[in-house]
C-alpha cells in the first residue's frame, strides 16, 4: 500500500512531533483513535492532536497508573487508545497496570514511550529509561518496537493502528538522525531491515543506534571491512530468520542498543542464537549493568560505547577474536 503523509517531514519535526502528526492523520479516518497523556502532552507532542480532536484527547494529570488502567478499559470497550508518557513511567511506574490491565487482558492499547534510553540524558537516572525493553519484552501479548528515526516512527504508528493488540513504541526525546529517506521501504512489524550489506560481521541495532551502526559500517567499509547492519526495530516478536541468516553469513554478531545489555535487544538476539545450536563470535553493546551518568545524549552514547566509534572498535575486536570454527557449519543451517 502506498503511504502518503501530507504534512509530515522528519527533517523539520522531532520524532515526537512526527508521532503526534501521524496520529492526527490516522485519526481522521479512524474515530476509534483517542489520545491520553499524564501531564506530558507538551513533552510528547500531543498539542496538535489536542487542538484538532479536543473531544478525543484525555488529560490525566500526573497519574500514570490511572491513565494506563483507564486506557485498558477504553480498549476493552472498542477504542484504540494511544497513551503518551516517558518510557520510564510506562515501564516502571505503571508496570502493574501495563502487566495486568493491558497485557494480560490483551487490551488494544498503544503505549508511546518517549524520552527513552539516555535521550533525556541531563535529567538523570529518574528519567533515563535503560531497562524498559527488557521489562516490556517479558510481558506476554505485548509487541515491542524501537523505531530508528522519525520516518520509521510514522510507519510504526500506522502499523500499530492496524495491529489488534497492545504495542509498546519506544521513541527518543528530540530529533533523531535520519536513517530513512523515504517511508516506502516496506516496513513490517517483526521484519528486520537490512540497511547495509556485509559479510564479515553483522551489527544488529535498534533505535538511535541504527544510525550509529550505519556510520560505523561505512567507516569500516573504507578500511575493507564489510559489515552488515540490521535494523531490528521489532524486539518482540524478534526476527529469528534474519538473525540466523546473519550468523550463517557473517559469523560475527554485535548488538547495540541505548539500554542495558541485560535482557534487551542483546538478550533477545543471544537467546535466538543460543537456542539455534549455531556458534558465532558475539558481543552486546549497551549499558554494562550500570545506571548512566548525566549528560547530553550524544556524549552518553559515546560514554557507553554505543556510538559510531564504540561500534567500530567492537567490530575490530570481534574480527581479531579467535573462536572455534565449526567444520560442519554449512550443514547446520
Amino acid at each position: 500500500m502506498a503511504i502518503s503523509y501530507t504534512s509530515i517531514s522528519q527533517t523539520k519535526l522531532s520524532t515526537g512531533e512526527v508521532y503526534g502528526d501521524t496520529l492526527c492523520e490516522l485519526a481522521k479516518d479512524n474515530p476509534r483513535i483517542v489520545a491520553l497523556t499524564a501531564d506530558l502532552g507538551k513533552s510528547t507532542k500531543m498539542g496538535n492532536f489536542a487542538e484538532q480532536y479536543p473531544d478525543r484527547f484525555y488529560q490525566f494529570g500526573i497519574a500514570e497508573q490511572n491513565m494506563y488502567g483507564t486506557a485498558a478499559g477504553m480498549a476493552k470497550s472498542g477504542l484504540i487508545p494511544f497513551t503518551s508518557s516517558f518510557a520510564i513511567f510506562a515501564s516502571c511506574r505503571a508496570l502493574d497496570q501495563v502487566h495486568t490491565d493491558i497485557c494480560y487482558q490483551k487490551a488494544n492499547v498503544k503505549l508511546i514511550a518517549s524520552h527513552a534510553g539516555t535521550s533525556f540524558g541531563q535529567a538523570g537516572t529518574t528519567h533515563h529509561s535503560t531497562e524498559d525493553i527488557a521489562i516490556m519484552r517479558s510481558l506476554a501479548n505485548l509487541v515491542v518496537i524501537v523505531p530508528a528515526d522519525g520516518m520509521e516512527t510514522a510507519n510504526v504508528v500506522r502499523a500499530a493502528v492496524e495491529y489488534d493488540g497492545p504495542v509498546y513504541i519506544r521513541i527518543n526525546r528530540g530529533f533523531d538522525q535520519v536513517v530513512y529517506g523515504t517511508y516506502d521501504y516496506g516496513y513490517q512489524i517483526g521484519k528486520a531491515v537490512e540497511i547495509y550489506e556485509g559479510t564479515d560481521a553483522t551489527v544488529i541495532a535498534c533505535g538511535s543506534c541504527v544510525f550509529q551502526a550505519l556510520q560505523a559500517a561505512r567507516e569500516l567499509e573504507a578500511d575493507g571491512v564489510s559489515v552488515r547492519v540490521l535494523n531490528m526495530h521489532t524486539i518482540k516478536p524478534i526476527d529469528r530468520e534474519a538473525i540466523l541468516k546473519a550468523v550463517h553469513d557473517t559469523r560475527r554478531i554485535i548488538t547495540v542498543e541505548d539500554h542495558t545489555v541485560i535482557g534487551g535487544l542483546g538478550g533477545a538476539v543471544a537467546e535466538v542464537i543460543a537456542e539455534s545450536g549455531m556458534s558465532c563470535a558475539f558481543k552486546r553493546l549497551g549499558l554494562q549493568d550500570t545506571f548512566s551518568p548525566i549528560g547530553f545524549h550524544e556524549d552518553l552514547m559515546s560514554i557507553h560505547c554505543i556510538d559510531t566509534n564504540g561500534i567500530v572498535t567492537a567490530v575490530r575486536e570481534l574480527l581479531n577474536m579467535d573462536f572455534e570454527d565449526d567444520e560442519d557449519w554449512e550443514d547446520e543451517v
Binding site: 494529570g61 500526573i62 513511567f89 540524558g121 541531563q122 535529567a123 528519567h127 548525566i294 547530553f296 552518553l300
Partner: protein, 285 residues
C-alpha cells in the same frame, strides 16, 4: 516564635541571592526548571537557614534534619542553597546539566552531598519522608523531616497512600509542605486535573492543614512552629505561591515550567529580581 525583623531581613537577602543564582545556573546549564524553583525557594530557604539542624562538613551526620525535595525537578533551586551552605562548591553550579557533572536536573543523593534522597520521579518523596521519620522514632532520634511536594505532583495516587500512612503512624517531627503554585507542565493544575478542594483533601486524610503565603517568611514560620509543636495529628502546610515568582515573564505563567533565557532576558530577569527584592524588603516593618 515569630521571626524578628533582623531574621526576616537576613532571610530576604539570602533568598534574593538564591533567586539570582537560579537564573545564573539556568544560563550556565542552557535551560532549567525555573518556575518551580522560584516558587519553592522561599520555603526551602526558611527551612535551611532557620530550622534545619545540619552540618555541611558532615552531610551524612545521623542526627541531621532531613529534607526531601519530592518535586525533584526543582533541583536547580536546591543547588543554590547547597552551594551557599558549603555542601558543594559554588563553581560546580557552572557544570549543572553538563556531561559528566555530578549535578543533573534531578539531584542524585549518591553524588551530591547534602541531598538525602534522589528524587525526580514524582510521587515518591512523601513515602521516603515517612520512612525517615519512622526511622527517627525507632532509633530514638530527634531529627525532623521536611518534605516538599508539588501541587501537580499530588495528582499521583502514591502521594495519598503516603498521606494515609502518615495519618496512621503520625511520627513526630514530620512536616509535609506543598508548593501550591497552581501550575504544572501542560497547564494550570485546575485545568489539567483539578485538585480542589485541595486543603480539604488533606484534612479528610487526617492532616491539620494550613494555607499560608509561601513567599512570606513570617507566615510560613508560624505554621512550621505550630506543626513542630503539634503531636495529635500530622500537619500539611499548603504554601500559596506563584510559579516563577520574582521574574516577570515567568511569574504565574505555566509555560515557564522549564525554559531557557537569552542574555537579554537574563539581564531583565536579574533586574526584575532586584526590584522584587526591594519591594519585599520595603514591606517589612
Amino acid at each position: 516564635m515569630s521571626l524578628t525583623k533582623e531574621e526576616r531581613l537576613e532571610l530576604e537577602a539570602k533568598v534574593n541571592e538564591h533567586r539570582h543564582t537560579i537564573i545564573r545556573t539556568t544560563m550556565w546549564a542552557g535551560s532549567g526548571h525555573v518556575g518551580g524553583a522560584l516558587s519553592m525557594i522561599d520555603a526551602a530557604t526558611l527551612l535551611y537557614y532557620h530550622y534545619m539542624n545540619i552540618d555541611p562538613k558532615r552531610p551524612d551526620w545521623e542526627d541531621r534534619d532531613r529534607f526531601v525535595l519530592s518535586k525533584g525537578h526543582a533541583g536547580i533551586g536546591y543547588v543554590a542553597i547547597l552551594s551557599d551552605l558549603g555542601f558543594i562548591p559554588y563553581d560546580s553550579l557552572k557544570t549543572f546539566n553538563l556531561t559528566g557533572s555530578r549535578l543533573g536536573i534531578h539531584l542524585d543523593s549518591s553524588k551530591v552531598p547534602g541531598v538525602d534522597f534522589s528524587t525526580g520521579s514524582l510521587g515518591h518523596g512523601l513515602s521516603l519522608a515517612l520512612g525517615a521519620a519512622l526511622a527517627a522514632q525507632q532509633l530514638n532520634k530527634t531529627y525532623r523531616t521536611f518534605c516538599m511536594l508539588g501541587d501537580g505532583e499530588c495528582q499521583e495516587g502514591s502521594v495519598w497512600e503516603a498521606a494515609m500512612a502518615i495519618s496512621k503512624f503520625n511520627p513526630p517531627g514530620l512536616v509535609t509542605m506543598v508548593d501550591w503554585n497552581k501550575a504544572q507542565i501542560d497547564g494550570l493544575t485546575e485545568d489539567v486535573m483539578p485538585l480542589e478542594p485541595f486543603a480539604d483533601k488533606w484534612r479528610a486524610f487526617g492532616f491539620h492543614t494550613e494555607e499560608v503565603d509561601g513567599h512570606d517568611f513570617s507566615a510560613m514560620a508560624e505554621a512550621i512552629d505550630a506543626a513542630l509543636e503539634r503531636t495529635d495529628v500530622p500537619t500539611c502546610i499548603i504554601l500559596d505561591t506563584v510559579k516563577g515568582q520574582g521574574v516577570k515573564v515567568c511569574a504565574g505563567n505555566y509555560r515557564w515550567h522549564y525554559g531557557a533565557f537569552d542574555e537579554e532576558m537574563a539581564k531583565q530577569a536579574h533586574n526584575d529580581l532586584d526590584a522584587y527584592y526591594q519591594q519585599r524588603v520595603a514591606s517589612i516593618k
